[in-house]
């Protein structure tokens, strides 16, 4: 999402976020609701069986990603789609911008796509004079607000109804209301016109089926269907690891994704789109372009962090994470927040930019508990922390302290001396300490256990 290589200022962002009472209340409520709904949805289901199956299917594809991309491309082409492979974000933007400019299209309707956030599509199209109308209500809200999503499933969760009401009144010129149903109706009215007059629709895809060349889109609002079956031109932007081998693999993911994301058995709509409108049909775009983004995924699939690519973007780890729950998505200053976001940001944007996010976890493991595809998040985070040290991206003082720690831990004599020093200097340190924090620090015992037991 960011072109900058500057390290993310997570601590600063987080400190600001935890001071925002309204934000914390909104996040706490959301995480709580999602957690309960998820648990209810998985009651009396063979969840462990599903998780294992989904994990295996993902690994099968990752083992041979190139071949699956080829197979998908071939079958999608047979069905009438044009396939474009985008090596990175810039290429994805160029491809999509090119398709629209070639046809003189000046406005597109768009349904939710996290990949479009990853490649920073909207800003780019805007620069080219192409208007993008976000149609997912949450995305529409943050688009009007000029913000980025703070949660991958509910992008505007950081806003309460009053904030949305004020936003609509200000930017749309309508009468102020804070009633969610009324606000939804306002958005519906505005967007319906856009749908019916749009020359092009851009969507993401939750999955892509190699055997049939189909893309799968889950939505609740119906905007995804509007964007993909009404305009004559449809551009689907997705990433290569979302491919599953065949239709027979879909049921497991259909059972896992909606339950993990919102606690629903299934979303209101699930569309399976295969190519362009065929002879005798009355539904479907006449032109379909599928842009497959790599952005480092092929390489990651071959390496030790490959399991992160099993992720199906359900957001359950965000809801389970005690850090995310307290700071929200914006603090991560990245396309993807929460536990999966820490790993993906470091992998996609590099250690220089992402390393502060590696502090944003206690490795408590709550994320791994809820991941529907068994991504070993704590393990990946630990490995990335080791990488961070090896690359020298930790503070110098910390490195020195750790070296000192190693000396003490390896030498009982030095260890006892250090204990004695801490005990002796404690009263002085207390007097000198500026923060009140030291008041709450445990007091070194006058006689250590080793001395008591010897």
């Amino acid at each position: 999402m960011s072109a900058s290589n500057k390290a993310i200022r997570f601590r600063e962002n987080a400190a600001r976020a935890v001071g925002d009472r309204a934000l914390r209340a909104a996040l706490s409520n959301a995480a709580g609701v999602f957690t309960v709904k998820r648990e209810e949805a998985f009651q009396s289901t063979p969840l462990e069986e599903w998780r294992e199956l989904a994990s295996q299917t993902r690994l099968e594809v990752l083992d041979d990603l190139g071949a699956y991309v080829d197979r998908f491309s071939e079958n999608a082409s047979k069905a009438g789609a044009r396939i474009h492979r985008a090596k990175d974000s810039a290429e994805a933007r160029t491809i999509i911008g090119g398709i629209l400019k070639e046809r003189g299209i000046q406005k597109v309707v768009k349904s939710k796509s996290m990949i479009s956030e990853e490649v920073n599509l909207n800003a780019d199209l805007l620069r080219d004079g192409i208007k993008v109308v976000e149609t997912d209500l949450g995305e529409y809200i943050i688009q009007i607000a000029g913000e980025h999503p703070s949660h991958i499933i509910v992008p505007a969760i950081h806003k309460d109804r009053r904030q949305v009401g004020r936003l609509f009144a200000q930017k749309l010129g309508c009468e102020y209301t804070e009633n969610p149903a009324a606000l939804t109706r306002i958005a519906k009215k505005v967007l319906r016109q856009e749908f019916l007059s749009a020359e092009a629709g851009i969507s993401g895809a939750n999955f892509a089926v190699a055997d049939t060349g189909s893309i799968v889109i889950f939505t609740n609002e119906g905007n995804g269907r509007m964007c993909t079956s009404l305009p004559p031109l449809h551009i689907a932007l997705t990433s290569i690891e979302k491919i599953v081998p065949s239709l027979a693999d879909l049921p497991t993911f259909i059972r896992l994704l909606p339950r993990s994301a919102t606690g629903q058995v299934i979303t209101s709509y699930m569309s399976l789109i295969t190519g362009t409108r065929k002879l005798g049909e009355a539904t479907g775009a006449s032109e379909l372009h599928i842009v497959l983004l790599d952005n480092g995924r092929s390489e990651i699939a071959r390496g030790e962090y490959r399991e992160m690519l099993k992720c199906i973007r359900c957001g359950a780890c965000l809801n389970a994470c005690p850090v995310y729950r307290n700071v929200g998505g914006h603090a991560y200053d990245s396309t993807y927040p929460g536990p999966m976001g820490i790993v993906l940001t470091v992998l996609f944007e590099g250690m220089d930019r992402g390393h502060p996010l590696l502090d944003a976890t206690t490795l408590c493991g709550a994320c791994a508990d809820v991941c529907p595809v068994k991504v070993p998040l704590p393990g990946l985070l630990r490995r990335l922390r080791e990488e961070r040290v090896v690359q020298g991206a930790t503070p110098k003082t910390e490195q020195v302290a750790m070296a000192g720690f190693a000396l003490l831990a390896a030498s009982p004599k030095l260890f006892r001396m250090a204990q004695a020093a801490v005990s002796a200097l404690w009263p002085i340190a207390r007097k000198m300490a500026t923060g009140r924090g030291v008041d709450y620090f445990p007091v070194p015992a006058k006689k250590t256990l080793s001395r008591r037991l010897s």
Partner: protein, 242 residues
């Protein structure tokens, strides 16, 4: 039966009374406790920061101290026990000789309540407790070691003490080793949430198996002026011994 006690650096330096309580508790059940000299720290502080080289040094020392001994190694801390049991072998993934030693040591390690319930088969401490207790299950203890029921079993068997379930018990308290030092604002929020949940129970004492967590909770409680006590489970159980 004879066991080796690894006290952990936190208990050795800041909470020796917990170490003494552990010895008293094990002795009550007929176990002879040996405290190998020369023990220092399991290396977790370095490990959680990703400093493999430094944590290996701590691990090598731990292994050298304990390989000269026999029998179960008891550790009154979920995170330290998990460090040795689950992470030591991985630290030596490139060194077959040390990895085998690490695996041998790992196989001898028990977290305290794990040992009491599964090896000593103590389901009933046969002791009289008092007051209203609530229990905080630490993250590595539950998720890495799989110790969930054992501490509660022991607490519930204290006749006269009331054990109140802690709401949102499985939420991290915000210690996370260096996490609380690097992101103190977030850690404070997490600790506050934990304190709020404890206050909801009306308990006069919160207990747990990890001093890292307990230290963090105690600091937040003190900052908030909360009235409850914070005690390691070894102390809670040992205090009930007449």
């Amino acid at each position: 039966m004879q066991v080796q006690l690894f006290s952990t650096c936190l208990i050795d330096t800041f909470f020796p009374e917990t170490g003494e309580a552990t010895v008293k508790l094990l002795s009550r059940f007929g176990v002879n406790v040996v405290y190998p000299r020369g023990q220092t720290c399991c290396g977790k502080p370095a490990d959680s920061g990703g400093y493999t080289r430094e944590s290996r040094k701590a691990a090598e020392h731990f292994i050298s101290v304990f390989e000269a001994t026999d029998g179960p190694i008891i550790i009154p801390s979920g995170s330290c026990a998990s460090m040795v049991k689950n992470h030591y072998p991985g630290l030596f993934r490139d060194d077959d000789r040390m990895r085998l030693k690490a695996e041998a040591i790992a196989g001898r390690v028990y977290e305290l309540t794990q040992f009491l319930v599964h090896v000593l088969r103590v389901h009933e401490v046969g002791l009289k407790g008092k007051g209203r207790l609530t229990y905080h299950p630490s993250c590595q203890l539950t998720r890495e070691l799989g110790v969930r029921e054992e501490p509660l079993q022991l607490l519930h068997s204290l006749k006269g003490a009331e054990v109140i379930p802690l709401p949102n018990a499985d939420r991290c308290c915000g210690f996370g080793g260096i996490f609380s030092a690097k992101l103190p604002e977030v850690a404070a929020c997490m600790a506050d949430e934990k304190v709020d949940n404890i206050l909801q129970t009306g308990a006069d004492t919160v207990t747990g198996c990890d001093h890292g967590c307990l230290m963090n909770i105690a600091a937040a409680a003190k900052r908030r002026g909360s009235p409850f006590q914070v005690k390691h489970i070894a102390s809670v159980l040992a205090e009930a011994i007449p």
